[in-house]
């Protein structure tokens, strides 16, 4: 199960939650690695 993103539309106030798509999940993994490296 992939991590979720919570979207809040600032115009309507509507909040939606969904799992990351392929591109978002790929970026998530990049971020995780970058953060781990930078804060070692």
């Amino acid at each position: 199960m992939r991590p979720e993103i919570i979207f809040i539309d600032c115009q309507t106030g509507v909040e939606t939650i969904r799992e990351m798509d392929d591109a978002e999940y790929a970026q998530y993994l990049i971020d995780q690695e970058a953060n781990a490296t930078e804060t070692e």
């Binding site: 979720e4 809040i8 600032c10 939650i17 990049i30």
Partner: protein
């Protein structure tokens, strides 16, 4: 804790949106209306990991278009570090070895060619950030990204003209 508006030295801050996430690793404020300045306030943040690390990304820009200098505090020691000038995909709000975490981030000139960003942790531990987002685009999306799934806390987005 209820915060609906903040008063600056000149213009009043207007709350644009708020979220109290108990799941997910990213809170994404989309369709952000145009304001001169934006202000992100997060408090009581906790997550499912052993530490709380929060970063902010603008307009979902994952390129190397951010610069920052960082003051950080750990275990009673202070250090200064200039990191990844123009070589980062996001900006630190705070990094915490203890939770819950709180931080604020002021984004000045969100509708101008220069976006100056100042991030401050509230409880004495974490990253104090000064930086910029190198883009001429008006900010329409603000993502607050956690290293692990949120379990508690509130994130608010304010704007002022």
């Amino acid at each position: 804790m209820t915060i609906s508006s903040l008063r600056g030295s000149s213009n009043k801050w207007i709350e644009i949106a708020s979220s109290s996430p108990t799941s997910g690793t990213t809170v994404s404020f989309t369709s952000v209306p145009e304001y001169k300045d934006l202000y992100v306030l997060a408090y009581g943040i906790n997550n499912s990991g052993t530490a709380t690390q929060l970063t902010v990304r603008l307009n979902n820009d994952t390129g190397n278009n951010y610069s920052r200098s960082v003051l950080f505090y750990f275990s009673g020691t202070s250090q200064m570090q200039i990191t990844n000038s123009s070589n980062s995909s996001s900006l630190y709000g705070t990094k915490e070895a203890w939770s819950p975490a709180a931080f604020s981030m002021l984004i000045e000139g969100s509708n101008s060619p220069l976006k100056k960003i100042t991030g401050v942790p509230y409880d004495g531990y974490g990253f104090e950030t000064n930086g910029a987002w190198h883009s001429t685009d008006i900010i329409t999306r603000v993502d607050v990204i956690s290293t692990a799934a949120f379990t508690a806390g509130t994130i608010k987005l304010f704007g002022r003209n």
